[in-house]
């Protein structure tokens, strides 16, 4: 992911080129970040083939394709934020609850009424709730020195409770036409929801691979002490990371609001598990230090197609869970195999 592909031919590039020439190019390719994603692409194609064979026309049509992508979009946006957090050696268990809270706050009567003429306020409120939750997480982790697992677990519980209190456990129907009309509209025949996923992915990829922010993220995950001693402000960066994860949950909340036309405190339950699974299957190391946005997108797609194939074949959702579990284990085992081979043969 992080290898520049179009940088000018410097002397560094030429030495690298000659190093590549010395060893088996196939092996070299599969050990490279792009090559590691090839495994995911192959798995994805296999799954599509299974879908095509078992469900035939029902699966292989453009409408179903959009069903899959729309489903993937909500999880996908959160997964992009999660990739940053996990790469830096952290974890955010609260994203599902924060999504629920944001959906409730953005859809309560007061906001909708105020936003009647100006629906972007709903979007703003939703993202702001996410950012605030992330800020709280980040401050508790970085300055309160509570481990991320515990701090975000507390937020998972707390945000869900807050959402129930605000909504009174009742569903908040979205009746802001401006909001609904915008998200129902399409651009170039593609839903706005899907566009948002595409845009967030591209922005995430860029931030991760091309900016100082991304470099700091990887450095902190690789060795936080070394990063600190080199002058990286680890605490401040940690806060930013959880704010990004929160913002992504807020964005996902608006996407879900538009799809379901309702905000409820039960939105996003157990979503954190799907998100973390997609990120890890995509090739980001749970211990931090290595992450890939492209892999995360593929991981999200893999699970989305899987869910769809099972639904199309009228198989119980229980079997879906079993299949997901198997995929997680197999994917992570394959990654480790590749990582080890790379370790013993890198040149």
């Amino acid at each position: 992911m992080s290898e520049p592909t179009s940088s000018p031919a410097t002397s560094a590039d030429s030495t690298r080129a000659s190093a590549v020439g010395k060893t088996n190019p196939m092996k070299q390719f599969f050990a490279s970040p792009a090559g590691r994603s090839i495994g995911l692409v192959i798995a994805l194609l296999l799954l599509v083939a299974v879908g095509a064979i078992t469900a035939g026309e029902n699966f292989m049509n453009i409408d179903n394709f959009f069903v899959i992508v729309r489903y993937a979009s909500v999880i996908g946006v959160i997964a992009i934020g999660m990739t940053f957090v996990i790469t830096a050696g952290g974890i955010d268990l609260s994203v599902g609850s924060v999504l629920g809270l944001a959906s409730v706050v953005a859809s309560v009567g007061a906001v909708q009424t105020a936003a009647e003429g100006f629906w972007p306020l709903m979007v703003f409120v939703s993202i702001a709730v996410g950012v605030l939750a992330g800020l709280t997480n980040g401050l508790i982790i970085a300055y309160g020195k509570v481990v991320a697992f515990i701090a975000t677990l507390a937020m998972l519980v707390g945000a869900r409770g807050l959402a129930e209190l605000i909504s009174g456990r009742s569903t908040q129907v979205v009746n802001n036409d401006g909001f609904l009309d915008f998200f129902r509209a399409e651009l170039l025949g593609i839903d706005w929801v899907v566009w948002i996923f595409v845009l967030v992915s591209i922005a995430g990829w860029f931030l991760f691979n091309r900016t100082t922010f991304g470099r700091r993220t990887v450095a902190i995950g690789g060795n936080a002490t070394a990063a600190r001693l080199a002058g990286v402000n680890v605490k401040r960066h940690t806060v930013y990371l959880y704010m990004i994860a929160g913002a992504c949950a807020g964005i996902a909340a608006t996407m879900l609001l538009s799809r379901t036309t309702a905000g409820t405190s039960t939105h996003g339950q157990l979503l954190e598990l799907d998100v973390i699974a997609a990120v890890v299957v995509g090739g980001t190391l749970l211990i931090g230090g290595r992450g890939t946005i492209g892999g995360t997108v593929l991981g999200v797609m893999l699970f989305a197609v899987l869910v769809n194939v099972f639904t199309q074949n009228n198989l119980s959702s229980s079997w879906q869970l079993v299949a997901k579990g198997v995929i997680i284990v197999v994917a992570v085992m394959l990654q480790q195999r590749l990582a080890n081979r790379e370790a013993s043969s890198s040149g």
Binding site: P4, S7, P8, T10, S11, A12, T15, R16, A19, K22, T23, R210, T211, T212, F213, G214, R215, V218, A219, G222, N223, T225, A226, A227, R228, L229, A230, G231, V232, N233, G289, R290, A343, S344, S345, S346, G347
Partner: protein
């Protein structure tokens, strides 16, 4: 030659060597680590393996310990050809290894670490009392009866962690003990203790393979020497007696080199004070430390391991938050406990533990070299990786860092070259104040001279340098002024040429007794 120990005479009528290595080769992908190594080790001898950083010493011993499989060559044990499939197989033969990187588990106790993998158990139930008993015996044998078996290893100093690693090796029934740079983390008193233990082992007929970059140790402890260069045997089984240091250096490096410290350049009287430390204290670690370093001056902190030297550097830098006192750079006071502020004031620290505190091992070299400067190379938020690579390549040349590939994963570099990556980081940064904690730990003779020259050059360009080293002669040879430290206090401060190694040790003895 300085002989501190009487060498055991090795009977030459010993027909078979304990260990014979012939034509050993090992590659990692395209990198050839070993290309043809020959070695004979006899029972009861100390066999020193020498070579520059990256020569293949650690790779050699990892093939002997079963951690790596050789691509070609033969290993004979007691005259029989053997394959050492894994570390367990090595232990069954009687080969125990202490790796260059400490391999103890921080969260476990001393006893648990020692018997890890071969727990004393009956029917799955650990026999703690027996483990504790045997641990106590082992620690006594190693000269440290004060270390309790139930002490958590994470709380020990690196030197004591190494003792645990050694005790683990001795808990097996061994015939050959392999030690990869054991003295790198030790001060002179602890080195004496290590040599005492080695002597005891060899008296029992156990052979020792000893790796070190400190050539004076070879004279003291070694019986025979084998030299590696670029993965191949340059000389095998030379007797220590009758091989001069000069000869060894030229075998290792292929050039004739003077083993000496670079010329001192007197600091001009009007050079401004750059670093000023006043009354600095850190809880029970050290108290009331005051010192100053002028532009172009090298100040050394001499003291034993555990005297608080590293803590002083880390507190000046803000990695630890001082409980009292001030640090000023060019007259400006630094915020306590704020590393970013120190780095922003052009201060740099090369930490003692480069692996756990300094490097991103899984990242390419250039990203480590520019870890404190990538934001400066960047255009706004946008990274400029080609510029980072160019800057790294420049420093790689200046430091003779090998292999000179900025994209190589840092973990695959030899120890000394990893140290050079740390120095490259601060050279690129261009610091005004450089704090160096053990800058030559694990660095070979050749590179050591380069690093000495480099430190001198930086000083002559006006950098204020504060240096800590366990090797007292290194502090004395490099520094203009020395501060002698014991038990977290500055005992004495004087020009380096006014004192010698014995003087420093005397001061420490008296200071600790007082």
């Amino acid at each position: 030659m300085r002989l501190c120990y009487v060498h055991r005479v090795i009977e030459d009528d010993h027909p078979v060597s304990l260990l014979e290595v012939r034509g050993l080769a090992k590659s990692f992908g395209s990198a050839k680590a070993l290309t043809g190594v020959d070695l004979d080790v006899r029972a009861g001898e100390v066999h020193c393996v020498l070579g520059q950083n990256g020569a293949g010493k650690s790779t050699l011993i990892k093939t002997l310990s079963g951690a790596h499989q050789p691509d070609a060559g033969e290993i004979r044990w007691n005259g029989e050809s053997v394959t050492i499939a894994d570390p367990v197989a090595a232990l069954e033969l009687g080969i125990a290894t202490m790796y260059q990187e400490l391999d103890v588990v921080d969260g476990l106790t001393i006893a648990e670490n020692i018997f890890l993998g071969h727990e004393l158990a009956r029917g799955g139930v650990m026999n703690r009392r027996e483990a504790a008993q045997r641990t106590r015996e082992l620690m006594k044998r190693l000269g440290h009866p004060d270390l309790s078996p139930s002490r958590e290893v994470g709380t020990l100093s690196p030197a004591n962690q190494q003792l645990v690693s050694m005790a683990r090796a001795l808990s097996h029934d061994i015939k050959l003990m392999v030690m990869d740079e054991p003295s790198a983390v030790l001060d002179s008193g602890e080195v004496d203790n290590l040599f005492r233990v080695i002597k005891e082992l060899t008296n029992q007929g156990i052979a020792v393979i000893y790796i070190s970059h400190r050539l004076e140790e070879i004279d003291r402890i070694g019986d025979r020497i084998s030299v590696l260069k670029d993965g191949a045997s340059q000389a095998s089984n030379l007797p220590v007696k009758g091989t001069s240091t000069r000869e060894l250096i030229s075998l290792m490096t292929g050039t004739d080199m003077e083993h000496a410290f670079p010329e001192h350049v007197p600091v001009p009287d009007d050079a401004p004070v750059v670093l000023e430390v006043e009354g600095l204290s850190l809880g029970k670690h050290f108290s009331d430390v005051s010192l100053s370093v002028r532009a172009g001056e090298i100040v050394g902190l001499a003291g034993l391991v555990g005297s608080g030297r590293s803590e002083i550097l880390e507190t000046i830098y803000g990695h630890r938050k001082a409980t009292a006192g001030t640090v000023r750079v060019n007259g400006k006071e630094l915020k306590p406990g704020a590393v970013t502020h120190a780095v922003g004031s052009q201060m740099g620290l090369s930490p003692e533990e480069r692996k756990s505190q300094g490097l991103l091992l899984e990242e390419p070299i250039y990203r480590n070299a520019t870890l404190s400067t990538f934001a400066r190379f960047a255009k706004g938020w946008l990274l400029d990786e080609p510029a980072e690579r160019r800057a790294t390549e420049e420093q790689m040349k200046a430091l003779e860092l090998r292999p000179a590939e900025p994209d190589r994963i840092t973990r695959t570099l030899s120890g000394g070259n990893q140290q050079k990556v740390m120095l490259a980081r601060w050279l690129i940064h261009g610091t005004k104040v450089l704090l160096l904690d053990e800058p030559t730990r694990g660095v070979d003779v050749g590179a050591r001279m380069e690093i000495y020259r480099l430190i001198r050059r930086l000083a002559s360009e006006g950098t204020a340098i504060l240096i800590v080293s366990s090797e007292i002669d290194e502090v004395l040879g490099l520094a203009d002024r020395v501060n002698v430290i014991a038990d977290g206090r500055v005992l004495d401060e004087r020009p380096a040429h006014d004192i010698d190694e014995h003087g420093v040790l005397d001061l420490i003895m008296k200071g600790s007794a007082a």
